[in-house]
């Protein structure tokens, strides 16, 4: 392969915009009488940094805790433990007015464009609502901005008074993006933003996301299960498995120098739409264990083809192997 000059190779060592440490989220399981029977350990111990104008991709299979991680950033679910430093403040400790003002700077785009827009509101009103909540501008100013955002996201201005059901999935996702941009945030959490879209529409939305990132100076937390999409858009990628970050590094490094056995299996399992590329498939056996009682030691050891005795008892820490390449695996430490 040719050496690639790409966005991932730029220096990432500026001050992070968002610094997340020891994030943990347990959901209690309650018996019919309200007694707590146990916990779903959705997120165990996650840390990452998000930089201005950069995209951090989080990948993993269903149930690995990637969506929960995204939702806790906006306090849509309350974390059990951990800190998230943004502009010198810990987001997880904020209350009332301060929390509201932080939410203005962080917005979210959801997976399902059919259920994330209010069907009873006109799309103009949908985009203006966040501005109303945060008391930005006068009514006419808000309308101008909504028109402007519609145009930027590729929707005709004369569709301002239409309802969500009059649009296709791809267009609705554009409206969702326009709504997220309305309050001029600095971080957008994108939870599987293109998974529900057809291939020809998916590429349109990805291109749009890249354009507005430059224009609005946005940092993206891009959550997806599709590694080829994440590779295209992300500067850094974190791989999650059963609530743990198993590997995190720049995109190019992850693909050229894959370390963790789970990442390797994940990469080899992607069907490639090109017949000229022949690859060896590593098929990992079995299913993801339940997050209610995750395996002892390394959470991946039950499916890992390279597991050694140590893996069953000692939990590997996420540590730097090469510069800027962290991996949680006993094979490397």
């Amino acid at each position: 392969m040719q050496p690639q000059l790409s966005k991932g190779k730029e220096e990432l060592h500026t001050t992070p915009l968002l610094e997340v440490n020891q994030l943990q989220k347990y959901f209690p399981i309650q018996s019919p009488f309200g007694r707590t029977k146990g916990y779903v350990k959705a997120v165990e111990n996650i840390e990452f940094n998000l930089y201005q104008k950069k995209t951090l991709g989080i990948v993993g299979e269903s149930g690995c805790g990637k969506s929960t991680t995204g939702r806790t950033m906006l306090r849509l679910t309350e974390p059990t433990n951990g800190t998230a430093m943004y502009k010198g403040k810990d987001i997880f400790k904020l209350k009332g007015k301060e929390l509201k003002s932080i939410r203005r700077e962080m917005q979210m785009v959801f997976q399902d464009p059919h259920s994330s827009l209010n069907p009873k509101k006109r799309i103009g009103a949908i985009i203006e609502e966040p501005m109303e909540i945060h008391r930005i501008g006068s009514k006419s100013e808000r309308m101008d901005r909504a028109m402007d955002l519609l145009k930027k996201t590729g929707i005709r201005e004369d569709q301002y008074f239409r309802f969500p059901h009059e649009f296709s999935g791809g267009q609705r996702q554009r409206i969702g993006i326009a709504r997220a941009l309305a309050v001029n945030p600095s971080i957008i959490v994108l939870d599987e933003p293109v998974s529900a879209l057809d291939v020809s529409i998916q590429s349109q939305v990805i291109n749009l996301l890249e354009e507005i990132q430059d224009e609005f100076n946005l940092a993206y937390l891009f959550i997806s299960h599709d590694l080829s999409v994440v590779r295209h858009i992300a500067d850094e990628i974190g791989v999650m498995y059963l609530g743990n970050m198993v590997e995190i590094t720049t995109t190019d490094e992850l693909f050229t120098n894959t370390l963790h056995p789970y990442t390797k299996a994940l990469l080899s399992a992607i069907p490639i739409p090109d017949r000229s590329i022949k690859k060896e498939r590593i098929i990992i056996k079995g299913d993801i264990p339940s997050p209610i009682s995750p395996p002892s030691g390394c959470v991946f050891h039950t499916r890992c083809p390279y597991a050694i005795e140590e893996c069953q008892s000692v939990k590997p820490e996420l540590k730097e192997k090469n510069t800027g390449h962290q991996v949680a695996c006993h094979l490397y430490h």
């Binding site: 057809d198 291939v199 993801i288």
Partner: protein, 338 residues
């Protein structure tokens, strides 16, 4: 000639009646399936790929559906059979697996009951024999300790396991044709790889024909031998899998292949896009159905609909300008050789 193909779909037309008039979801689809081959049926949502499959199985509500054309299977036209005659074919000679295994399995019966039911109806076996057969089938699809599993309910097992149960059920009567409608779309990639392997192995073991319906071109490259690409109810290209990926001749196929982010592509390049969206079936464009979104479109394309024509062995395309695409292909290849 008659025995060469397992299934011959000839000018199939499926029309639904709706409040706003008849809607033609499948409009003159023609293709064949041979023994032991995996035919991919590809296209975006609304292109009619699932309706084609459901027409073959005659699963649609026939009060509101009109068929036209022929579906020849074993020398019989499935569209002219009575419902009773279809019962002997459905699940016996032709089986289907669906996308969502959770909603396709009955939640109040155990897995064993559901697999054995199919076997008892079609193979006239006793209950005990049928259960033993069910265990064998589960073993075949790679489910560990099937003797215990047959007593479990669908909610007790994972998504990947459920899809294996569906496959076991579909294959329990040794069908000669299997229709898989997006069998791995709801699954994670590592589980998807497992399931695709199972389908591939069993196809060889049982020498059956498979119709694989999917929107994922990666899955197509991995398991299919021949591919039919659909757009808005019509077949727009048919080719063997290597030809389709190396030299697609329809602008839509070409556009689709280019708009997927490649795992080894240039990340700084913008993704290729196809302009616009798929039109509604109530509002089908005149002339070529893809023309309004096509970069190659000429005056002719907007006015006159092209026919599906044979270009070379095993490649058919529905486009006026395929020669231009062919020329570009030749030029591209020439530059890579130099």
């Amino acid at each position: 000639m008659g025995n060469q193909y397992l299934l011959e779909v000839n000018e199939l037309k499926t029309v639904f009646s709706s409040e706003s008039g008849p809607v033609t979801a499948v409009d003159g689809v023609t293709f064949n399936v041979k023994h032991g081959e995996v035919l991919g049926l590809v296209g975006e949502s609304g292109c009619g790929k699932s309706v084609t499959a459901e027409s073959i199985m005659r699963l649609l509500n026939e009060k509101h559906t009109k068929y036209d054309g022929e579906i020849n299977f074993n020398g019989r036209n499935l569209l002219s059979l009575t419902n009773e005659e279809m019962l002997g074919i459905r699940g016996n000679k032709i089986s289907m697996i669906f996308q969502d295994a959770m909603t396709s399995l009955n939640p109040v019966y155990t897995i064993g009951d559901q697999i054995a039911e199919t076997i008892m109806i079609h193979q006239k076996m006793k209950k005990k024999e049928a259960y033993n057969k069910a265990i064998d089938m589960l073993k075949l699809t790679g489910i560990p300790s099937p003797e215990k599993r047959i007593h479990e309910y669908p909610h007790e097992i994972s998504g990947g396991m459920r899809q294996r149960v569906m496959i076991a059920m579909a294959l329990s009567c040794k069908p000669s044709l299997l229709i898989a409608d997006e069998p791995t779309t709801a699954l994670d990639v590592t589980i998807q790889a497992q399931i695709l392997d199972v389908i591939n192995e069993l196809k060889e073991e049982l020498n059956m024909g498979v119709i694989m319906i999917t929107h994922d071109l990666g899955v197509v490259a991995e398991v299919c031998t021949r591919v039919v690409v659909m757009y808005l109810g019509q077949v727009i290209e048919e080719a063997d899998v290597d030809t389709l990926f190396s030299s697609p001749l329809h602008p839509y196929t070409k556009g689709l292949l280019k708009s997927i982010p490649k795992i080894d592509g240039d990340r700084n390049k913008k993704l290729h896009t196809i302009n616009g969206v798929v039109p509604s079936l109530n509002n089908i464009p005149n002339g070529c159905r893809f023309a309004p979104r096509c970069t190659y479109a000429t005056e002719e394309c907007l006015n006159e609909a092209p026919l599906l024509q044979v270009i070379k062995d095993n490649q058919k395309v529905r486009c006026w300008n395929y020669r231009q695409l062919l020329k570009e292909e030749v030029q591209n290849n020439a530059t890579t050789i130099i």
